[in-house]
């Protein structure tokens, strides 16, 4: 819709040979006459009612006509009034050198140099950038008879306050998280890394949305080729809209056909800071609290920020627990299917008797039984996420019926199946990265099918293929399974385990050549 309306308009006005129908068609130089400029802006922004044009004359005895133009919905009105209007109309302004009959150029220079109390001011002379500035919330100042304009940074509008992270919760650790405003998010990171090496590049992606995307890194730590690769991939994106970092993720990831995410995302500024210091590059997108981190390796998905804030022993334990949970959520139902339908002899006798007794009345083979339960659980979970809060209770009541005693008594499933589904689900919830948890959810069904066809043999073959696939994955030139493959034993200090901070003296050398993190021998003396 947006695309088409824009195209017909600009096509009529300009030569319209761009063909792609976006906003940034070449529009040429600004007009000289104030009224011509105003009329053209009015028609370019589709006569938006929030376009405010305020005409006035300079107070210092001049006859120059000046206009301030801004979109009131996305500007900070306080700033426009205080720092643009008032300063221009102030009676205390210094006198303009040529009394009474200054040329438009002199008046323009005068405003630029003397009359504005806004921090960031730019002189623009072409339509494309001028419109873009207007649409980002800046105030434009035009002087009659001069073909340049001044853009004053008065960006404002509503943003959500910085609040606690909702997806990556910690008990101990910083409680702030990103919001939808890019400047706020960069501020949150910059406040944590007070280094002059903190590098930050901004590019605009999306022809219609013109979304601001920022690339953050620390100069001197990040490898140049990684930085350049990220920049190259970002610049290659040619699309109409970037509404979330997920859009960018799909454009720049290494292997689109893999079920594994090869780009980590987080809404925690402390996680971003920690990763920047290890030499990674963060990509922040305006309009979403979720920032991307590249290159990504598998162990990142099993680490929670809290591992580093709590004591290392509990951090290690929890991390091992999460790996175990991932394995359970991946293989749980598959192993149940394999055991009940192929390898009864592998079960201890008493358990086998219990199991067959419980499964006696169940009319389905184990595979169908497991699929039924797993699918109904997935439906339940989806309902729980999307449902309006007010009716949330209904889901839990009905859920207990579907996945509980009632289903067992109806003879559809065995009680052990219910337990298997429950354990799998809980294990899945305990993976800290939601996108990896989704991977486990999907692959689980493949393993269930493999187990249903040929039991453990299928599971092991599937495991080999899975590991091979993970070995083939790379994220911006770094092996996904690093530091296991290629084998780097000194990086195991922060892999399955987390050793104390003083022992982890080196940065992983995948992302950086500058591997010295701290001085050796800081172990506390006892």
């Amino acid at each position: 819709m947006i695309k088409r309306s824009t195209r017909s308009k600009s096509g009529g006005k300009d030569n319209g040979n761009s063909g792609s129908g976006n906003l940034s068609v070449p529009r040429g130089h600004l007009e000289t006459g104030l009224n011509d400029n105003i009329d053209r802006i009015r028609s370019e922004v589709a006569a938006s009612p929030d376009l405010i044009v305020r005409r006035f004359t300079l107070r210092t005895g001049q006859k120059q006509h000046v206009a301030a133009i801004y979109l009131e919905t996305i500007t900070d009105k306080e700033m426009v009034n205080e720092f643009v209007m008032r300063s221009l109309m102030s009676p205390f302004l210094p006198e303009m050198p040529p009394e009474n009959d200054a040329s438009p150029e002199e008046a323009f220079k005068y405003i630029c140099d003397n009359a504005l109390t806004v921090g960031q001011v730019e002189v623009l002379d072409n339509w494309t950038t001028m419109l873009l500035e207007l649409l980002t919330g800046k105030t434009l100042l035009f002087v009659d008879g001069w073909d340049q304009c001044i853009s004053c940074s008065t960006i404002g509008g509503e943003t959500r306050a910085v609040s606690e992270a909702s997806t990556q919760v910690v008990i101990r650790g910083p409680k702030d998280s990103f919001n939808e405003s890019l400047p706020t998010n960069i501020a949150l990171v910059r406040r944590r890394i007070r280094s002059e090496k903190f590098g930050f590049e901004a590019i605009k992606i999306g022809k219609v949305t013109q979304t601001n995307v920022a690339m953050l890194y620390i100069e001197g730590i990040v490898k140049d080729e990684i930085k350049q690769e990220v920049r190259k991939r970002l610049e290659k994106i040619d699309t109409d809209a970037i509404l979330e970092s997920g859009y960018i993720e799909e454009f720049i990831e290494d292997n689109w056909s893999s079920p594994f995410p090869t780009i980590y995302n987080t809404e925690r500024p402390d996680v971003i800071a920690a990763n920047l210091i290890e030499g990674r590059v963060a990509i922040l997108v305006d309009g979403t609290p979720f920032a991307l981190i590249v290159p990504t390796i598998l162990p990142q998905f099993f680490a929670s920020a809290e591992d580093y804030y709590q004591r290392y022993d509990i951090g290690t334990f929890l991390r091992l627990l999460r790996y175990a949970a991932f394995i359970v959520s991946l293989f749980g139902p598959a192993v149940y299917i394999a055991l009940t339908s192929f390898h009864q002899e592998m079960l201890p006798t008493t358990l086998l008797i219990n199991l067959s007794g419980a499964r006696e009345g169940v009319p389905f083979p184990a595979l169908i039984e497991a699929f039924l339960m797993e699918l109904s659980f997935e439906i339940l979970r989806e309902a729980g996420v999307r449902m309006p809060r007010a009716v949330g209770q209904a889901v839990s009541i009905v859920g207990a019926l579907v996945l509980g005693e009632a289903a067992v008594q109806a003879g559809i499933v065995s009680p052990i199946m219910v337990i298997v589904v429950a354990i799998t689900a809980i294990a899945n919830f305990s993976i800290p990265a939601y996108n990896l948890a989704i991977t486990a959810r999907l692959l689980r069904f493949l393993f269930m099918i493999a187990a249903g066809m040929i039991g453990f043999y299928g599971i092991i073959l599937g495991l080999i293929m899975l590991v091979a696939h993970m070995n083939a994955l790379r994220s911006f030139g770094v092996s996904f399974l690093s530091p296991l493959v290629p084998f780097k034993f000194n990086q195991f200090k922060d892999f399955f385990v987390r050793l104390p901070h003083w022992s982890n003296t080196e940065r992983p050398d995948d992302m950086t050549d500058n591997t010295t993190r701290m001085a050796q021998g800081q172990k506390p003396q006892t």
């Binding site: 201890p348 453990f456 073959l461 080999i464 590991v467 493959v485």
Partner: protein, 374 residues
């Protein structure tokens, strides 16, 4: 990012060779004819295998470090004969791949899948093998490394279990050399020699992919020695848990011995562990032979992208493995009585030795010529 050339890291090659050597050998007993001294058969076979590989195959590798076996046959004995010999090796590798697949299918049928058709068992294996080969040699070696770690873990677990449970009795291994060296030589020639250590000839297809910084011969022989140690451990476990009589009569002694081991009624029925070992090691064995035949075929027929050959060679291996023998007895008879004498001994030992000698002579001539001309 720019595509780097595929290469195998030293530790990955080590893992790959170990898994390759363990393939089926860990489940099927090697040299059980020698009773208590079966482990000596493994060790002697390994020693001879290491010497042979270090001198002959390693010598060929030193002559042509960046070429595959089927490529340097043409350099050594001329384009036509060399091509024919390479083709012979292609057939040999494919045949051994299908023999191994058949071995594996029969093992699986006997171990757990008596009701599943052979075709299904084979087809799933070859799909998985084909998939991992199509991901490239680097991924293959790296995957082998991860499963090597797992297998080491399994072995450690088994050893721990044997030590902790009171079922095992290490006196059952005695007497050592009770009947002298005779039974050992009998078991060694030719089966103990050709399987699994003679089969190392297939690794000459992959050595050019090793990162040149590292010493190929040292890694390969080290891996052979390591796998021999693991195989000896398996034999020790079998004999100490089951006793010589049962161990030498059981079809899969490791299955039997592990199903007897138990620890405080919690850890029991460990056959699944052996099943895991069997599938993993056989997978890499079949995969290695199939990969070698794919590389050989792409080299002989000038196929630039070897990944296109995965499908045709996979189908050939699958069909051959199913039609190679009418039943298990026929298959085993061929495997023990015919193949070692008519295929393994000449192709694993005789021809490489000849090639090595000719290669050395040719190099000597070339050196002398260049010395004379300069």
């Amino acid at each position: 990012m720019k595509k780097t050339i595929e290469y195998i890291g030293p530790i990955h090659l080590f893992a790959w060779i170990t898994l390759f050597q363990l393939g089926t050998a860990v489940v099927i007993p090697v040299g059980m004819d020698a009773k208590q001294d079966a482990w000596l058969v493994t060790l002697t076979g390994c020693l001879i295998g290491i010497l042979f590989f270090a001198i002959v195959s390693g010598g060929l590798y030193r002559l042509y470090p960046s070429l595959m076996f089927t490529t340097y046959t043409r350099r050594i004995i001329g384009p036509f004969l060399g091509w024919l010999l390479g083709f012979g090796y292609l057939l040999y590798f494919m045949y051994i791949a299908s023999r191994n697949t058949r071995d594996f299918i029969d093992l699986l049928t006997a171990a757990a899948y008596d009701a599943t058709p052979m075709f299904a068992l084979g087809v799933f294996m070859l799909i998985a093998v084909g998939y991992i080969i199509s991901l490239g040699i680097e991924v293959y070696a790296r995957t082998a490394f991860i499963f090597f770690l797992m297998c080491c873990g399994v072995f450690m677990f088994i050893i721990l279990l044997v030590i902790l449970s009171d079922l095992s009795d290490f006196h059952r291994i005695q007497p050592i050399l009770g009947e002298g060296w005779k039974p050992i030589w009998k078991a060694l020639l030719p089966t103990g020699l050709t399987f699994p250590f003679g089969e190392m000839i297939v690794m000459t297809m992959f050595l050019p992919y090793l990162n040149k910084k590292y010493k190929a011969v040292r890694i390969t022989t080290g891996a052979m020695a390591f796998s021999a140690v693991l195989l000896c451990i398996a034999t020790f476990v079998n004999i100490s848990v089951l006793g010589v009589e049962i161990a030498s009569r059981a079809t899969f002694p490791l299955f039997t011995s592990l199903s007897r081991l138990r620890l405080a009624e919690i850890v029991q029925r460990l056959d699944s562990v052996v099943l895991f070992l069997l599938i993993i090691t056989s997978f890499f064995k079949i995969g290695t032979f199939m990969f070698a035949s794919i590389l050989a075929a792409s080299d002989l027929f000038k196929v630039s992208n070897y990944k296109t050959l995965v499908m045709p060679i996979g189908v050939i291996v699958l069909l051959t493995s199913l039609t190679i023998a009418g039943n298990l007895t026929e298959h085993l008879k061929e495997g023990l009585k015919l193949v070692p004498y008519y295929m393994h001994l000449p192709l694993q030992f005789a021809i490489p030795i000849c090639l090595w000698l000719i290669g050395l002579i040719r190099r000597g001539i070339r050196n002398r010529r260049s010395a004379a001309s300069s």
